[in-house]
């Protein structure tokens, strides 16, 4: 009787063993990265010592000694660099939020118009989209800024609408004059939004359980608009709308949006809207034609086909690229440094020039943008997961 002898397992050389090879490769990579970082840090310390600088964050507390043209919170040159950067951040958020809202509205409108059956409209919009998408944003910003600066002064301001005037000093718009009596209205608005959210979830659950279609949108709208309105009415409308009026050489009343802000907003909105238009158009076109036909065969009227059948499916295609457009708009707002709107990068640039602390300042604003980007994409991924196809 002979047994089959298994040959003794040949000892695998470690470079042929995938596990060990992987470990070795990764260790080399880690060592390499560490050496590069260590060398950079070492050189940086030596260079900073040579320039009489020490790495640290003490500069944030020192007085900034420069003025900031506009901001959401008051700022005086005696305030600290830290506060200056915060004012810049708020200005970034202001342009980003306003820009995203306006670009979405305009972009969706343009996207739908580009699909119009009227070739004149479709061609005009597509011409606009092509021109804007194929020229650099920085150039467009300079162009808008030059155009606004070339406008006539406040006395010959262009009236854009009721109480809105565009001149070389910027845009004047009506604004609610602040009074403490408005606090309850703000709380009512918050309560309305929260209430609308809760109601929408409850109605959604009811629809899934019973199959009725409760009017979610009107109820939500009633809560969001109605509650603040009722609060306002209960107090006897304490708010006064301040409307800009020409007095002498300038306007009084309303609020003034600086030429820099208007140029930046105009540039960002028109640029981003062109990209959003393409995304929206692509999303609507991507919905299979049979869906339209089936919905029509069910006897749904056109607006409900759009709202109930086409949009929910188009949104799945639209949302991921739309997110990156929102992020692009936020990041592109940093181009304001070229035309002088005091947002984060502009304030950082001034701070850097005054303190010479390039590393600490750039680190701060890069991390701020990174945080905004990661938070936005996190939120949008969550939302995207909600509208994604749920396979049952």
């Amino acid at each position: 009787m002979s047994t089959i002898e298994t040959p003794p397992a040949a000892k695998t050389a470690f470079w042929n063993d995938p596990v060990k090879r992987g470990l070795a490769l990764q260790s080399i990579l880690v060592v390499f990265v560490l050496v590069v970082v260590w060398a950079a840090w070492n050189n940086m310390s030596a260079n900073m010592v040579a320039r009489g600088l020490i790495f640290g964050w003490d500069y944030l507390g020192r007085p900034a000694n420069f003025a900031i043209g506009e901001g959401l919170i008051p700022f005086a040159p005696t305030d600290s660099y830290g506060r200056a950067l915060f004012v810049g951040l708020l200005n970034t958020l202001r342009i980003a939020v306003v820009g995203i809202i306006l670009a979405t509205l305009l972009g969706v409108a343009l996207g739908v118009m580009r699909l119009s059956s009227n070739p004149l409209l479709a061609r005009l919009v597509s011409g606009y989209v092509e021109v804007v998408r194929n020229t650099p944003l920085l150039l467009q910003l300079f162009l808008w800024y030059a155009i606004i600066n070339a406008l006539p002064g406040p006395r010959q301001a262009l009236p854009l609408g009721p109480g809105m005037f565009l001149s070389n000093r910027g845009l004047k718009v009506p604004w609610v004059e602040w009074s403490p009596a408005l606090w309850p209205v703000i709380w009512a608005l918050v309560a309305g939004i929260v209430g609308a959210f809760i109601a929408a979830r409850a109605l959604q659950r009811r629809r899934e359980a019973t199959g009725d279609a409760p009017p979610t949108l009107p109820i939500a709208a009633a809560l969001i608009i109605g509650l603040p309105f009722l609060t306002l009415a209960a107090q006897g409308f304490p708010a006064t709308l301040s409307v800009p009026v020409l007095q002498g050489f300038n306007f009084t009343g309303g609020i003034e949006l600086s030429p820099e802000f208007v140029a930046l907003l105009l540039g960002l909105v028109l640029y981003t809207a062109a990209f959003i238009a393409e995304i929206v158009r692509g999303g609507i076109v991507s919905v299979y034609k049979g869906q339209w036909e089936a919905a029509r065969a069910l006897g749904l009227p056109a607006p409900r086909i759009m709202r109930l059948v086409i949009l929910p499916q188009a949104l799945r295609v639209i949302i991921p690229p739309l997110t990156s457009q929102y992020l692009n708009l936020t990041k592109n707002s940093s181009l304001a440094v070229a035309i002088g709107y005091p947002e984060l990068v502009h304030v950082s640039n001034t701070t850097m020039n005054q303190t010479g602390r390039a590393v600490e300042v750039i680190l701060v604003f890069a991390l701020v943008y990174l945080t905004i980007s990661l938070l936005t994409s996190g939120f949008m991924n969550w939302y995207n997961g909600r509208v994604a196809i749920r396979e049952r």
């Binding site: 992987g22 490769l25 990764q26 990579l29 880690v30 990265v33 060398a39 950079a40 050189n43 940086m44 030596a46 260079n47 900073m48 040579a50 119009s116 059956s117 009227n118 070739p119 004149l120 409209l121 005009l124 092509e130 021109v131 998408r133 194929n134 020229t135 650099p136 944003l137 920085l138 150039l139 467009q140 300079f142 162009l143 030059a146 155009i147 070339a150 990041k331 592109n332 940093s334 181009l335 440094v337 070229a338 990068v345 640039n349 850097m352 390039a358 590393v359 750039i362 604003f365 890069a366 943008y369 990174l370 980007s373 990661l374």
Partner: protein, 381 residues
């Protein structure tokens, strides 16, 4: 049960006598005027849209055309321009060569001119799929080295006999824009592939580093990278070592482009069916061979349109070097605005720049759309 059924009740829907003949249907295709009328004024809504569009055109086009063409001055002086009141294209014709070559020494301008010609020939060749072969890559690498050598007068620090050295501070205009974007793309391509493969790697550290790199670059504005290149990188260098400013901006741009290209390639890699990997494995190919011969050729090919789109974005983003004071085409043109003899023609300069960028980007985007149909799976075997 056999209930009798009235015969007329059974066949009540059958006509008992012949109906009158219908008129023949109208011609399916209406005549052209009718079709036009229906398209533009068929319904009240369409009619309103048409009228509004025409009104906008009538309101904006005539003033623009009279400014840009009728009252424009094509050749002349600033005084003549101001007198005519229209667009001052004379300013552009005056500054045209400056916008091409920047501050490059006048008597040496044949060098950037030659570079432009070589570049144009290479681009023309590269758009033809007939020339899409490995030799084209080698040719591009050689040409890029020649372009760089011709511009600066040295390659990798070795001076070329017969060519006076020209510092990069003197480079400008179209040349710098072309260098930034083309070198950016050429270098970003391989780095992007490595990052994309790293992001899909099974090795956690490789993956983590790739993800961190890509997400950091994509999460911050390009300006921060340019600032880092301008202000921080010199601090990272050992004392006495200095890297040229243009090269630092170029490196920042390459790293930026690489992260975006990596995401494009990742999309392509994700689109490759699992069977391709399994097939490669069953043939006994190792990782490098699988990628080299099976996966990458397919992944790179299906992402060519996306690559062109990314490149268009990068090309437009080269204008941002204005903020760190590098004289690309746009910065050069803006510096021409400061000429005291020609003050006040910014709009003309911006429109000229917009026209140049538009022609370049629009051509590329049309080319990418053509490639998309040419390379679609139904047409390519």
């Amino acid at each position: 049960m056999n209930r009798p059924v009235a015969p007329d009740a059974l066949v009540h829907y059958v006509a008992s006598e012949k109906l009158a003949d219908l008129k023949p249907p109208a011609s399916v295709l209406p005549s052209l005027p009718v079709a036009l009328f229906r398209t533009y004024f068929g319904t009240p809504g369409t009619a309103v849209i048409t009228v509004v569009c025409l009104a906008i055109l009538a309101w904006t086009l005539p003033p623009f055309l009279s400014w840009a063409f009728v009252n424009a001055t094509w050749i002349g002086t600033a005084a003549q321009c101001r007198e005519a009141g229209g667009a001052c294209w004379a300013f552009i014709s005056e500054k045209f060569w400056f916008s091409v070559f920047g501050l490059y020494p006048f008597e040496q301008r044949w060098r950037p001119a030659t570079v432009l010609v070589i570049f144009a020939v290479m681009v023309a060749l590269s758009t033809q799929r007939l020339f899409w072969r490995r030799e084209l890559i080698y040719a591009w690498l050689a040409v890029l080295a020649v372009m760089w050598g011709l511009m600066g007068g040295s390659v990798l620090g070795i001076p070329i006999p017969g060519l006076a050295p020209v510092a990069t501070q003197l480079w400008g205009g179209w040349l710098v824009t072309i260098f930034l974007s083309v070198f950016g793309l050429a270098m970003a391509y391989p780095i992007g592939i490595i990052l994309a493969l790293g992001r899909r790697s099974k090795r956690p550290i490789v993956r983590a580093l790739s993800v961190a790199w890509i997400e950091f670059i994509r999460g911050v504005p390009l300006i921060s990278l340019l600032f880092i290149a301008t202000f921080i990188v010199p601090l990272f260098m050992p004392q006495g070592v200095e890297i040229d400013r243009l090269i630092r901006a170029q490196i920042a741009f390459i790293l930026f482009a690489a992260a975006y290209m990596a995401e494009v390639f990742r999309g392509g890699l994700q689109a490759i069916p699992k069977g391709q990997f399994e097939g490669a494995e069953s043939l006994g190919l190792n990782y490098a061979q699988t990628m080299r011969f099976i996966v990458l050729p397919q992944a790179l090919k299906i992402t060519i349109p996306a690559q062109v789109n990314t490149f268009i974005g990068l090309f437009k983003d080269t204008t941002l070097v204005l903020i760190i004071g590098i004289f690309d085409f746009f910065t050069t043109l803006r510096s021409a605005l400061g000429d005291s003899a020609w003050l006040g023609f910014a709009t003309e300069a911006y429109l000229y720049a917009a026209f140049v960028y538009f022609v370049a980007c629009y051509t590329m985007s049309r080319y990418s759309q053509r490639l998309e149909t040419d390379l679609s799976p139904e047409r390519v075997r």
